[in-house]
């Protein structure tokens, strides 16, 4: 899949993954890279940008093993932003599907 296309979709996925409770960076990065063929490392700049835009807030929390983990919490703005992106995504896929079905009609 086109890399630039993928990056836009990643934003939606990262936001959605954080809806059921706070996640730490590694969790998000691995979850995303399991499903899409993206470099795990590119998820962190995305998380940073979303944090800077106020869609995530972060905090450090001790973990039983190893150094403190950085957790990402979806803010109210984050929720709104996510809903907006999902609506756009659904419009977009519907349009693509319509054209594909139309085009492949016998």
């Amino acid at each position: 899949m086109n890399i630039q296309f993928k990056k836009g979709v990643l934003e939606i996925c990262v936001l959605v993954l954080a809806t059921r409770g706070d996640r730490y960076g590694y969790e998000l990065a691995v979850k995303i890279s399991e499903k899409f063929e993206v470099a795990v490392g590119s998820v962190y700049p995305l998380l940073n940008r979303l944090t800077q835009d106020g869609y995530f807030s972060t905090y450090l929390k001790e973990s039983p093993e190893g150094p403190p983990r950085k957790y990402y919490h979806l803010t109210p703005e984050g929720w709104n932003h996510m809903r907006l992106l999902i609506a756009e995504w659904q419009d977009f896929t519907r349009a693509v599907n319509e054209i594909v079905e139309e085009g492949l009609k016998p």
Binding site: Q4, E11, G25, A39, Y44, E88
Partner: protein, 185 residues
């Protein structure tokens, strides 16, 4: 084959222009990642390979930083850096960002130079007439007055034009990086 230390060192080196607290924070994400990967029984090489090329990670982080900088403190140096950071993300941007940016910046600069030149010419005529009597004093003052009013008008106009150019460029950079990231808003 990269190990954790060389990976972190390379990333640190690539991000050396970023001031301390911010860079540390970004690097901490990758440090944590290696830690976590090790706990899950992944080798350092494997984790480094999965993370991907440090250069592309660094250029993405840098771009976000530059745009942010240009937004918080208005300066043409900062704006140009943001433009160049975008350009480093790909050939596409050289054509669609750097080209128009340089062209528009050159036009703005030329207009500023024109405004200043007209003003200088007006003052010049007054002095010229004073010393060499090229024009009568009334004529010289009239010309001087006209040219300095033109200069003032031009400067007022150019100021707002420059401000909107600055804002538009930033808007475009953000819009463009959103396209590169794939979502429109």
């Amino acid at each position: 084959m990269r190990t954790r230390d060389s990976y972190m060192m390379e990333l640190d080196h690539l991000l050396r222009v970023i001031p301390e607290p911010q860079r540390k924070e970004w690097l901490y994400d990758y440090y944590l990642h290696f830690e976590q990967a090790a706990q899950n029984g992944q080798s350092e090489e494997e984790a480094a390979r999965e993370l991907g090329d440090p250069r592309s990670i660094a250029s993405e982080l840098l771009l976000g930083y530059r745009v942010d900088q240009a937004e918080t403190n208005n300066s043409f140096g900062k704006l140009s850096r943001a433009v160049f950071a975008t350009v480093s993300l790909g050939l596409f941007n050289i054509i669609f960002i750097l080209g128009p940016y340089l062209a528009l910046a050159a036009i703005l600069l030329a207009l500023w130079a024109t405004a200043v030149a007209i003003g200088v010419a007006g003052i010049g005529i007054v002095f010229e007439s004073l010393w060499n009597g090229t024009f009568s004093m009334a004529q010289a003052l009239a010309v001087g007055l006209i040219s300095s009013s033109i200069t003032i008008l031009l400067i007022v106009g150019l100021k707002s034009l420059t401000t909107s150019f600055y804002k538009m460029t930033l808007k475009y950079l953000k819009f463009n990086t959103r396209i590169l990231r794939g979502n429109s808003k």
